[in-house]
Amino acid sequence: MKMDLITSLYVFMLAAIVGLEVIRRVSPLLHTPLMSLTNALDAIAVVGAILLAGEHKSTLSTVLGTIAIVAATSNVVGGFFITDRMLKMFKASRGPKP
């Protein structure tokens, strides 16, 4: 238990550092799609909600878990969808295509 906690803190710290370094390099041009993408990734919380709803430990937890899945899934679907739509619109003048 104690070890788990320390490991989790390590993971959090390293992920935060990686996140800061990687995201600092994102062009301001793409800050709107960046926000919708991180929002979609954040909806990975759906994993916790699925377990909660599926394990069926109590009525309360199943109900809350089910609502939570709906909320998170709409973020996953909507978030990736609109990010891709936005990115498709960004085109260079001419020259090298992606």
Binding site: V18, M35, L37, G54, I69, A72, V77, I82, F90, K91
Partner: protein, 465 residues
């Protein structure tokens, strides 16, 4: 049945998903690779969800499947909204994310109570406090952006003290629960106070502060998800939450810098307030105004034009007309660029998305640092629906409320044209000395209509070769 190492497979999908998530953000660094980023994110998400569904602790798939289908049905229209509605859509999705986190946190508390270990209770409190304040705060922000709620900041005496007091009470209750988790009746308080706080936090916010607020809510949403990762001991969720939190943090810092606010000012929701004291002595000096014909003539003989879009362009839906203007001028061999201030619009990067939607190549969209050096060589700076981000008082007048805010140096261009409805002051209520310069021409009218008239003049003015 042969024994199948399901648990290891699930863990492996989570590990791959984590890597894909980091790569996804890495590919966002350039518009040429950004779409790979979306695909990596989608693949990671799919793997993680399928992996989770394999979990043998799941006894009943009925509700899971119903919820997944329902969420998809809600998600599709949310992915199809108009580009002008992206800020409110983003705020709404922060609310959904926070809603999920708060509900899971609540369920976990009641499943574990009364015996919740101290550390568990601490992160659980953090999860539900951040989650619930982000939930109502984001709903409020979305309401203001969608103009369902009044956009005017509502300010009353002692607002900050009330808000800070509420937050302290919530933290106090959380602290008590850490040591006495058996007092479960206190848990609803831990939800209610931040829910109210979220509303109170957004009440004093005006439209121009939205980019900062949305970024901050993004950071809160990420941190609450990371806290949920600690509660569930899910490394994948910790990583995703930390990445989202880092992204929100960077954007918040960027936005606060672009508005010359200290970061603590932003953190404690001290938005809006400073500006209310704006005592811009109303000037009645004369301005020079011009007609579309005159504007077109000046543009036609320019060799370098910089267009400065602001929220007014988004409101007037003028981006497609601006694109026509861009095409016309470019065809004449005129160098046309766009100057994007970090806080132009209602969320970070808002202008870029609108202009990209209108098919303007992204290499013509330059941010403040890239473009500012070019204004002295610019013949015409054309400002469309932007105000405070071009106000030279920010550079020169130390008594101005926006003094010190980085601005676009449009006043260094040879000629400045400002498309504006009237002489009314901008969001901050500050007069803009730019408008009284000799080199400035005011083009009064609706942004879309006026740009349209200029384009008509340019293409019909007998200039076709």
């Amino acid at each position: 049945m042969t024994p199948f190492p399901t648990d290891s497979i699930i863990e492996l999908t989570y590990l791959i998903a984590t890597v894909l998530f980091v790569m996804s953000l890495k590919w966002m660094s350039s518009p040429t690779t950004a779409r790979h980023g979306v695909w990596a994110g989608e693949l990671g998400m799919l793997l993680a969800i399928v992996g989770t569904l394999l979990n043998r602790d799941i006894r009943d798939y009925k509700w899971v499947v119903i919820a997944l289908v329902l969420g998809t049905i809600i998600g599709v229209p949310l992915g199809k909204v108009q580009m002008t509605a992206v800020p409110q859509r983003t705020a709404l999705s922060h609310a959904f994310g926070a809603c999920c986190v708060t509900l899971v946190g609540t369920a976990e508390f009641y499943l574990r109570a009364p015996a919740v270990p101290k550390f568990m209770m601490s992160v659980l409190s953090m999860e539900v406090i951040l989650g619930s304040l982000t939930f109502t705060g984001s709903l409020m922000a979305a309401g203001k952006l969608q103009e369902i709620l009044p956009q005017r900041p509502i300010i009353f005496k002692g607002q900050n003290i009330v808000n800070l007091g509420m937050l302290l009470v919530a933290i106090g209750v959380a602290g008590y629960l850490v040591f006495h988790p058996d007092h479960t009746y206190l848990f609803p308080v831990l939800l209610a106070i931040p829910l109210l706080f979220g509303v109170m936090m957004i009440i004093p916010i005006g439209g121009a502060d939205m980019p900062t607020v949305i970024s901050l809510l993004n950071a809160y949403a990420g941190l609450s998800a990371a806290a949920m990762g600690f509660v569930l001991d899910s490394k994948l969720l910790i990583v995703a939450g930390a990445l989202d939190g880092a992204s929100g943090l960077i954007l918040s810092v960027n936005m606060s810098k672009a508005m010359n606010r200290s970061f603590s000012n932003v953190l404690f929701g001290g938005f809006g307030q400073e500006q209310t004291g704006a005592k811009g002595a109303k000037e009645t000096r004369p301005v020079r105004s011009a007609s579309p014909e005159e504007a077109a003539e000046i543009l036609a003989v320019a060799s370098k034009v910089v267009i400065v879009p602001g929220y007014g362009m988004a409101v007037a839906q003028a981006q497609h007309k601006v694109r026509e203007l861009y095409d016309n001028l470019t065809k004449r061999g005129i160098d046309v660029k766009f100057a994007i201030h970090p806080v132009a619009g209602r969320m970070p990067g808002h202008m870029n998305v609108l202009l990209a939607e209108a098919d303007i190549p992204y290499d013509k969209l330059l941010d403040m640092e890239e473009i500012n050096g070019e204004f002295p060589q610019t013949d015409v700076a054309l400002i469309i629906g932007a105000n405070d981000v071009t106000n030279p008082a920010a550079r020169t007048d130390s008594s101005s409320p926006i003094f010190g805010m980085p601005i676009l140096d449009v006043d260094k261009a040879h000629t400045v044209m400002v498309i504006k409805r009237s002489m009314a002051a901008g969001f901050a209520g500050i007069d803009n000395p730019l408008y009284y310069l000799d080199k400035t021409l005011m083009l009064f009218g609706d942004a879309k209509g006026f740009v349209g008239s200029i384009v008509r003049e340019l293409s019909g003015g007998g200039n076709h070769g």
